[in-house]
Symmetry: C2
Subunit: 262 residues, 2 copies
């Protein structure tokens, strides 16, 4: 990666000075990688765009890493709120060496992805050797259906978290759950917390703190409604009812998956 490319990626001006600082940093021991890390992020129709873009914004600022958006072809993929995003590579073009394998969540689009043989084959294959196998929101259910969370602690969107047990995972009610090389995050916005933690792993704390400052991640949620423990009960009831058909679909897939394993 040359200076011009670095500058383009950071998109915020004189990136080169940050790069130099990070490399010189004596506080941490995370030099730039000798070869760029491959961060491979699945995209698919009906995914929740914020599940993807929260982490991608951090990964994209991670100098020395290469971020790929992978799908079965190069057609524009449309998110659950109508954002059309272009894949950068196909499953066939994906590098063999994957440092971070990532699945975003969604609603009915995720249910489809959980039943898509190409998606599952890809995750089974790359999941064997990827350095980290990761997800945000219901993306963990794609990992689970591919058999990648059996025997692992994991999390998901609050509404679907307990369903992970049906796939042999151990659900944990935390925003980011790390078990060996599996790192799963909770609902939608938790992808930001997740990605800053990954930045700390790959580049050290100072770099991750710089990311947090760049993102101005000093959140002030307008309500106290961000998890089912604190949200008003009628709101939780409304959303739980809304997600019910989705949960039924997940259970059906879990039953079929268990049957296929025999």
């Amino acid at each position: 990666m040359n200076r011009r490319e670095v500058s383009k990626i950071i998109g915020l001006g004189a990136a080169v000075s940050l790069l130099a600082k990070a490399q010189q940093s004596t506080q941490t021991n995370h030099p730039m990688p000798a070869t760029p890390e491959n961060i491979v992020m699945l995209i698919y129709p009906g995914m929740t765009a914020l599940d993807l873009i929260g982490p991608q914004q951090v990964f994209g600022y991670l100098m020395g890493a290469k971020v790929h958006l992978v799908w079965k072809n190069k057609d524009i993929v449309v998110s659950d709120t109508g954002i059309g995003i272009r894949p950068t590579i196909t499953f066939a073009e994906c590098p063999e060496t994957v440092d971070i394998l990532f699945a975003p969540g969604g609603g009915t689009g995720t249910i489809s992805a959980m039943q898509d043989r190409d998606v599952l084959d890809f995750f089974r294959q790359r999941g064997k050797t990827a350095k980290y196998v990761t997800s945000v929101c219901t993306g963990s259910l794609i990992l689970a259906t591919a058999g990648l969370l059996r025997g692992y602690k994991a999390t998901s969107h609050w509404s679907a978290r307990n369903e992970l047990a049906l796939f042999g995972a151990e659900p944990v009610a935390k925003r980011v759950v790390e078990d060996r090389n599996r790192i799963t995050a909770g609902g939608i916005t938790s992808g930001i917390d997740f990605a800053i933690r990954i930045a700390a792993k790959l580049r050290g704390e100072e770099y991750a703190q710089a990311m947090e400052l760049t993102l101005e991640y000093d959140p002030q949620p307008p309500f106290h409604s961000g998890n089912p423990e604190t949200a008003p009960k009628p709101v939780v009831a409304m959303m739980t009812a809304m997600y019910a058909p989705l949960i039924t679909s997940i259970r059906d897939i879990a039953a079929r998956t268990a049957k296929e394993r025999g």
Copy 2:
């Protein structure tokens, strides 16, 4: 908008029950709009994708609203971290009636947008009549260059906030700043706080709380580094140095803009 479209937009299953609940809600007095609101979000090369997608995820879940991604043509727009996003309308196709006019920020891409006559003309024109004129991050500098923040309190990314004064705005160090119909938000992630507040304005508190729960917006930043007051001093110094060329460009544009006004 028919049931099928609503269901597609929410992307999370039985949206219709939420719609019905929201309409019946006696707690708030925000019925669904008689005609869909037009939410018009600028996209442009080099923008910061998370500035856009944070709010878009909320607006896209706002049943009864129509979200447009506007650019000068329909070519894929590439963000500062390489996300290729498809515009849905051109400036020429944009509805006359705009409920929310929105500009995301970025780095050098934003500097270009601030000097793009098509962008400025579009904002000047639609900014006159839009119900709300809004931004996230350095998007406020696009509004400011178009003359839309003169005499208004406003905010921006922490690194560029004070520069708003050069365009006749009054910088305020808050995550979301509201002055009459101008609503500007701070750096990148503040767009999520911003959008939930907009949801409350348009659909009432209960609906906005449901959005916050859907997003699982119960943030746990890994560090205390999300604003320059709390971040470690060397990290602030590093990022301030990194942003310096960008600030110089902003000042140059401000000087030229002031001269052109005479």
